[in-house]
Amino acid sequence: MSNDKNPISTVDQIPQTTPSFKGGVEPVGRVNETADSLINGPCFETKMERISDHEMLLNMGPQHPSTHGVLRVVLQLDGEVVTKAVPDLGYLHRGVEKLAEHRNYSQFIILTDRDDYLCAMLNNWAYCLAVEKLMKVEIPGRADYLRVISGELNRIASHLLFIGTFGIDIGAFTPFLYAFGREREMILDLFEQLCGARITYNYVRIGGVSNDLPDGWVEKAKSFIVHMRECLKEYDDLLSYNPIFMDRTKGVGVLSKEKAIAYGITGPNLRASGVNLDLRLQAPYGVYSKFSFDPVVRTNGDCWDRYMVRRDEIAQSCQILDQALGDLPAGDIMGKVPKANLRPPVGESYAQLEGARGWLGVYLVSDGTANPYRLHVRAPSFVNLAVLQETLTGWKVADVVAILGSIDIVLGEVDR
């Protein structure tokens, strides 16, 4: 070393990383030699000795254009056919549930926004439902309606993003810019007027909502619904009934009714497998019992059905929005909740609602102080993701992307 202060002074003193594919056993990262984990190995390439010579391991993610965030899936491939798939989670773990124990009850709402950032309204709502259940608060009617309106709009926004990104996964780029860049923008504009934010809303508060509707908002929302219904036809022409798209998705990644129930799948994925289970219909919360809307169920459980369920749910949400915007009552938007020093009584509560991806539940334990004692989020994406390992086996690399896309996960919610 010529220079003591800077140990690396020339280029050839930079430590060279040993390429792992040469069969080197140099540990990179964690060392975990448990039998099952292909994925936790020091460097999974060395495990290639264990798989047969005509197979290879493909590391898909965490930096990959279609793993929808930072999911990592290690694929064992025979040619292009997947013989084994191991998902690896945790790249976006932020310890939200632990953070809750150091925030007071109202402060935590902003963290729920970050869980499932594609339908933050519903996350706010689920958490507030749990707190309200604990505190036994009465919510004014108008606030309940506003929650339904914002929630359903957000569900549409979330499904629009799904339609766009699923199109990209299949290789169609244009629907993405229609759904994501045009219609979803309109919803975000509406939300911006409603609460000032476009992604992380913090709109639903304990006991009500934060802001009332600005002038002209209802008309604007109604005009959006009209536009949305027209656009659904456009998506059908461009994507839903496109022969190549149907070829790619029909019969691919079939999830049977029994398997879906066994894995605890909820939401659109479950309804695509032929189970008519929607919390808004079967166990209505808020004011959903006042609206009449058709259930969306498909029977095949393949990627196309999962896509179509979401496409139909946009129409269903429009149906609900029509009614909710039509008979929106006047009144207060906040119930009688202490503004500061919110201390729910000792106890526990669990509240769940139909999120855009399934049952979104929040379990809350209170010890009577200003902070939750324990909080757990039942994230639908996380539960739905469990089925991936079994579903991927036997399909091709191109189908991996289709199946993963059709399950519609949000990594922010999976890892929390």
């Binding site: 254009p65 290789g171 911006e192 600005p214 604007k220 496109n242 190549i244 790619r248 992307v401």
Partner: protein, 410 residues
């Protein structure tokens, strides 16, 4: 009703309603017409002159040399007149992708309710691709650890080089505007355009990346398969024109059928249309574009065979892709749309290169339109489509063409 802090009153901004879009596009088309008017005017005024100017340049330079008192040896002129068309091809391959990429960016943008590049070059981002090219030239060239350095270096060269040869026998207008008039033009183009897949395979293997390897293998399988329907689709044209020379084909297709329909092979009943559709599909597959872009399959293989390429090497792959696309379109224009032949003899005041480039750009537009409309096929569907659909129909078409030609000759 309460007024929120972020309230914006008034109706929805109707910037993207169908009505507003229609209005905007009508206006754009008007402006485009205004812009194209002087260009087409200049073409009419010049006629076939641009190429005559080149021819006359030699005569002129000889005369100048005579004045000065130097004698130019005759072989100099031979060399120059042989080199000029080749330099033209060389220049075209470099310039065509620059224009086509911009064109694709703009068309794709407008298909996708965007505007595309609007800044570089001031007018609708005309210089965007030039800026991109400069950027790519200046970018770092990265060779991954463990890559086969020789293959990694040679792959883009092998991919792009055959394109230069392929343009030689293409008539860029009337048959006289062929850089190298060959009697077996079709054969040469088909033969050399099939070579570039070796470059993709080399890139796939040489990059030491699994995504690249999968992409390279997909590209090879696809190119080998789709070469067949593509050639089969050309057979009826060759049979009908009775020549393999591309200039001869343009000649065979000039004129009118019964004075109504242009004598282009596309309008040959049944056979022409089937041929054209098969050729179009197979060409899209050959050039690795959506719905057949399995070799790069962005959502599956990150970037396929060129995942590990950067800077100018990547740009060469890109150039190869667009050069082949331009080639496929030019060939399609020559074989099915009559090359430099005008739509009607009354329109022959427009020079032949106008018709040639117009038709080629129309084909390019078809390619772009299809690319931004369809999703990607799966690898096994792709093979099935080729072997079970395109090839049988292509063969049937050849038989049909044979019958038609036989009937007419009787």
């Amino acid at each position: 009703m309460a007024r929120g802090p972020w309230a914006v009153t008034g109706p929805w901004t109707p910037s993207q309603t169908p009505d507003a879009l229609r209005k905007r596009y009508t206006r754009s088309l008007f402006f485009l017409a205004v812009l194209l008017f002087p260009l087409i005017g200049a073409m009419i005024w010049l006629g076939e002159h641009p190429f005559r100017v080149v021819e006359n340049l030699f005569v002129f330079s000889n005369r100048v040399a005579g004045w000065v008192g130097i004698s130019i040896p005759a072989w100099h002129l031979t060399v120059i007149s042989a080199a000029m068309p080749l330099l033209f091809v060389l220049g075209l391959i470099q310039v065509a992708p620059i224009f086509m990429v911009w064109w694709e960016m703009k068309i794709a943008a407008h298909i996708q309710v965007r505007l595309g590049p609007m800044w570089v070059g001031r007018w609708h981002g005309v210089l965007q691709t030039v800026a991109d090219g400069i950027k790519l030239l200046l970018k770092e060239d990265i060779v991954p650890i463990g890559a086969d350095r020789v293959l990694h270096f040679l792959a883009p060269v092998v991919a792009v080089a055959p394109a230069f040869v392929c343009f030689a026998p293409i008539p860029f207008g009337r048959p006289g505007l062929t850089p190298v008039p060959l009697d077996t033009g079709v054969l040469l183009v088909m033969g050399f355009s099939g070579l570039s897949v070796i470059g993709l395979l080399m890139a796939g293997w040489g990059s030491n990346s699994k995504y690249s390897a999968l992409g390279g293998l997909r590209a090879a399988a696809q190119a080998v398969s789709y070469e067949i329907p593509r050639v089969i689709a050309l057979l009826p044209v060759v049979m009908w024109a009775g020549t393999l020379s591309l200039g001869g084909m343009v000649q065979a297709q000039s004129g009118m059928w019964h004075g109504v329909v242009p004598r282009w092979f596309l309008f040959y009943p049944v056979v022409g249309q089937i041929s054209f559709i098969i050729y179009l599909i197979a060409s899209i597959a050959e050039t690795n574009r959506t719905p057949f872009d399995l070799a790069e399959a962005e959502s599956e293989l990150t970037s396929g065979f060129h995942t590990e390429y950067s800077g100018m090497k990547w740009a060469m792959f890109f150039m190869a892709e667009y050069a082949y696309m331009f080639l496929a379109c030019a060939l399609g224009a020559v074989l099915f749309l009559g090359g430099g032949a005008p739509l009607h003899p009354a329109l022959s005041f427009l020079p032949s290169y106008f018709w040639f480039f117009g038709k080629t750009l129309f084909m390019v537009f078809l390619f772009i339109w299809i690319r931004w409309t369809y999703p990607r096929m799966r690898v096994d569907h792709l093979m099935e489509f080729c072997w079970k659909f395109l090839i049988p129909w292509g063969l049937f078409n050849v038989v049909l063409a044979g019958l038609f030609i036989l009937m007419r000759s009787r």
